[in-house]
């Protein structure tokens, strides 16, 4: 059954796109609204604003890849679609950070899980971070709109075996669990969301809002890294971009100057703060880059008698929030439980050890379930927190400082995961930590987990959600933008991405970003109309 490529078809129809890597000389592009980043926030904003009649220029650092390019092979996907070719880590190298870097942003490579921002999180932002008008009620229509736009619905098919472990284990223990809503239409249940959906079923920005923007006369500039804003007396006068080579590895030396009436930064966590830092944008209270959060992840693997094949089937379809709010919004470190898809290359790095030990673990891959716990960082003052810094070449890195409060959550998460895995019928459980070995009973696992030396490098840590760094809020001493996403010091600059969040969310972020970007964009369109 041949699969079409709607993006390739659109280009053939006459969409206006510019490939930064092919530039032979510097150019200038003009637009009403320039948007940096073609992911969840940027592309949602682009669709809204181009529908409202504005000439939109969408700027993306990464390459353009669409369904005809997605061959479901790990090396090609990691090298071309991920930030730093999947080499992005925390500054100390201990945490692998997954973000997308291609047209469509992280939505191109995420695992489709779509949750509204939890009411408790919105309330926390209002109460503690001076965020106005972002309540469950005020956000509801925007979430509903984006759910309809992107086909977001609870996954109707049975969970794959990997996800079933959460369901079976939680059911046996009386722990709450639920089905995950996914942004898919006509999904083939393959499991390769993380390598670019080869069937266009995943409703990423690539097959939804970006085509709509280009159909409405918007333009796309890709393989161009937004380098710095040119600022004059509280006003942005231009955005300088660097043309990137075809692999988006390094700048070619060519430059693109973008001039617009209004600028929106939507490069996501780490990248958006980096632009402001490089621009030396006004930051009187040194807020830029601070309070960056990760939903820090630790892992537990379990071996089952039956075949699990954790590499096939919709990757995430069941979750448990049983440990997410049980100590309140600001009690001990809380976490959400999910499973990740594990294909061989990623599995090999997660399962640990090398030589014969690793080989034995890899041999069992078809019988291996992997589970993850995502820490709800940023709610408690003792939580781990990150700060974005610039390297000497201007590229960003995240200095994420662990704390005992956070390690405590990590340890309790190992316990929860082991308990659920055994309750689901696991033969052995292996917390993913250098010093851990296979436990064949819960008691054995608990003893081992309590004895683990929780340290960087010994503990396998990851992140697929970068949030914060340009917090929104009414108080300029705490926030970079106000509650409308307007930069506190620069009057024609907005931020419409995950870097706005004052804390982590407590749920996979994409729908939070869609809803927020939709709301902020429609409010921006009104203001521009009346200006």
């Amino acid at each position: 059954m041949p699969v079409t490529d709607p993006f390739a078809e659109g280009i053939a129809r006459g969409w206006k796109t510019h490939d930064g890597s092919r530039l032979e000389k510097d150019i200038t592009l003009d637009a009403d609204i320039a948007i940096v980043g073609s992911g969840a926030g940027g592309a949602t904003s682009a669709e809204f604003l181009s529908a409202a009649g504005y000439k939109v220029l969408l700027i993306e650092e990464g390459p353009l890849r669409s369904s005809q390019d997605f061959d479901m092979q790990e090396p090609a996907a990691y090298a071309s679609l991920y930030q730093e070719a999947i080499g992005r880590t925390s500054k100390d190298g201990a945490i692998t950070i997954l973000q997308g870097r291609a047209v469509g942003g992280s939505t191109l490579v995420n695992w489709t899980s779509s949750f509204r921002t939890p009411a408790a999180t919105l309330k926390h932002w209002a109460d503690e971070h001076d965020v106005k008008n972002l309540s469950e009620q005020s956000m509801a229509p925007w979430f509903k709109r984006m759910e309809q736009r992107l086909g977001i619905e609870p996954w109707p098919l049975p969970p794959n075996a990997n996800n079933q472990v959460i369901r079976d284990g939680c059911a046996a223990l009386g722990y709450s669990w639920a089905v995950i809503p996914r942004n898919v239409r006509g999904c083939w249940n393959l499991g390769y969301c993380g390598m670019g959906c080869p069937t266009n079923a995943k409703q990423s920005m690539l097959v939804t809002t970006i085509p709509a923007t280009l159909d409405a006369g918007g333009e796309l500039l890709y393989l161009a890294r937004a380098d710095r804003l040119i600022v004059d007396k509280g006003h942005v006068t231009a955005l300088e971009c660097l043309a990137m080579d075809a692999r988006s590895v390094a700048p070619t030396g060519r430059k693109i100057k973008v001039r617009a009436r209004h600028y929106i930064l939507a490069g996501g966590g780490i990248n958006t703060p980096a632009i402001l830092l490089r621009s030396e944008a006004p930051d009187p209270h040194q807020r830029v880059g601070k309070r960056t959060f990760l939903h820090l992840v630790n892992f537990s693997a379990a071996q089952f008698e039956q075949v699990i094949n954790p590499f096939y089937g919709a990757p995430q379809s069941i979750y448990s929030d049983h440990f997410q709010w049980d100590d309140g919004t600001r009690g001990r470190m809380s976490y959400k439980l999910e499973v990740p898809p594990i294909h061989p290359a990623l599995a090999a790095t997660l399962l640990g050890r090398a030589g014969i030990d690793n080989a034995r673990r890899m041999e069992q891959l078809p019988h291996t379930n992997a589970m993850i716990a995502l820490m709800r960082d940023g709610f408690h003052p003792d939580s781990a927190e990150g700060q974005v810094q610039l390297r000497s070449d201007g590229t960003p890195t995240l200095d994420y400082r662990m704390t005992p409060y956070t390690w405590d959550g990590i340890r309790r998460a190992y316990h929860s995961m082991a308990e659920i895995q055994f309750a689901a019928g696991a033969r052995t459980v292996l917390p993913l930590h250098n010093d851990a070995s296979h436990a064949s009973s819960l008691g054995q696992a608990r003893q081992m987990i309590d004895g683990l030396n929780l340290e960087l490098y010994r503990t396998r840590l990851g992140s697929a959600h970068v949030m914060g760094g340009c917090a929104m809020g009414e108080d300029p001493r705490q926030a970079v933008t106000d509650s409308l996403g307007r930069h506190h010091q620069l009057e024609n600059l907005s931020i419409h991405d995950g870097s706005l969040f004052p804390t982590s969310i407590g749920a996979n972020p994409q729908l939070s970003i869609y809803g927020l970007a939709a709301k902020l964009s429609s409010q921006l369109a009104e203001r521009l109309k009346n200006a």
Partner: protein, 178 residues
């Protein structure tokens, strides 16, 4: 860069070797050392240099032990290094530089001995010496070496298991045909 959480004791200094710890203490020394290493990539490679290949050819069989039958190991090593080279060629310059510096620590005579305990060159290194070096770095009081250990081990494993030849061992049939 030095792990400031652990006091830098005399014993740990002796364990690493004064020269090794000095090399890590100052990026400046790493910078001047890298001037001693070959900058050109090896023939047939985009990123990896001859000095890197010497070290990686000796290390990779140890990392892949048990995943590949002995008779297939030379082919597996060749394939792994090709994949690794391609992966490294996509890294941004800042990260690529860090990897080169890590490889330099491992291959330059001045730092290899003190830091890894492998004094006689990689080609002559015994299996026991390789295992001891990997363990030493994994448990080092110096954060940079712990980071280096994790990084080295993971990049080699990732390179191998991205290749279809590796999938038989781990029971992965590959992606479906669409």
């Amino acid at each position: 860069m030095i792990n400031t959480e652990r006091p830098f004791s005399r014993r740990s200094l002796l364990r690493v070797g004064l020269f090794g710890s000095a090399a890590l203490a100052g990026a400046g020394l790493i910078g001047s050392l890298s001037g001693c290493s070959a900058e050109q990539s090896a023939a047939g490679f985009v990123q990896l240099r001859e000095s890197d290949l010497l070290m990686l050819r000796r290390l990779t069989p140890t990392i892949l032990e048990g995943a590949v039958p002995e008779s297939s190991m030379p082919d597996a090593v060749r394939g792994t290094l090709t994949s690794l080279d391609e992966g490294l060629a996509h890294l941004p310059p800042a990260v690529s530089k860090q990897v080169s510096q890590l490889f330099d620590l491992l291959s330059l005579p001045l730092t290899r001995g003190p830091l890894t305990g492998v004094w006689g060159g990689w080609e002559q290194a015994q299996d026991g010496e390789i295992q001891a070096f990997l363990q030493r770095w994994e448990n080092s009081p110096i954060a940079l070496l712990r980071q280096g250990h994790a990084s080295l081990q993971q990049m080699i494993l990732m390179a191998w298991y991205g290749r279809p030849e590796s999938w038989r061992h781990c029971g992965y049939p590959g992606p479906p045909v669409i």
